[in-house]
């Protein structure tokens, strides 16, 4: 396999990784919560300090305000 063949292979694998990441990200958001876990609560102070605004529990915070 020539050097450029390897480069094309590597870039296609990276693009594949990116697609897998985006698809799984969207699917993770879409799948409904399992039956018994709707009311799971994160301990209050931890939720505010973590900046990951896209995490499911932040959505609950914002809806409350």
């Amino acid at each position: 396999m020539t050097q450029t063949g390897y480069i094309i292979l590597a870039i296609s694998i990276l693009v594949g990784l990116l697609i897998i990441f985006i698809v799984s990200f969207v699917l993770y958001r879409k799948t409904p919560l399992p039956k018994g876990c709707e009311d799971m609560k994160m301990s209050e102070e931890k939720c505010t300090s973590c900046p990951n605004n896209s995490c499911a529990f932040h959505k609950k915070e914002e809806d409350k305000e």
Binding site: I11, V15, L18, I22
Partner: protein, 175 residues
Amino acid sequence: MDKKHLIITSITLGVIAASSALLIGVTNLITKDKISQNEKEKIVSGIKAIFGNESKIKEESPINESIFAGEYKYINYVYTISDNSDVLIGYAFKTSGSNNFGKITMLVGYTSTKIYKSVYMISDEQTFASTLEDEYVTKITDNPDYQDVDVHCGATYGATLVKEMIDEVKGAVNK
């Protein structure tokens, strides 16, 4: 998800990915030769540290094309060193090996009269790199009888790896 929305999202993400790939490619073109130049400078400064300031590389070649060709586990490059008036003063072997704590790349210097001169550490990404550096490497630089420096020094695996490399170079020189 309706079709149109899906297409828009994939196009924007495609544009972002393409522009980021372009940015990285451009920076790579700028920095590629500078990085290899840095590596070259590191080797030159290593040789100067071993053979003194006025030494310079006369010629360099992969091990198997040089006069020391043979079956080696660690050595991959050899530099013949001469001083300003082109008199051969010694050889520097670039060796690299790894154990379960990380990789070591270093230069081993031998004088033209086949005596061990010194060692220079190019890159040591071992977990216990600092202990290896203080306890073992400083003791064997510019110390002809490196054999009797004890290997049990808080970084035993690293020290045995360094010693194996020097012994292999010794074998190559005495061939």
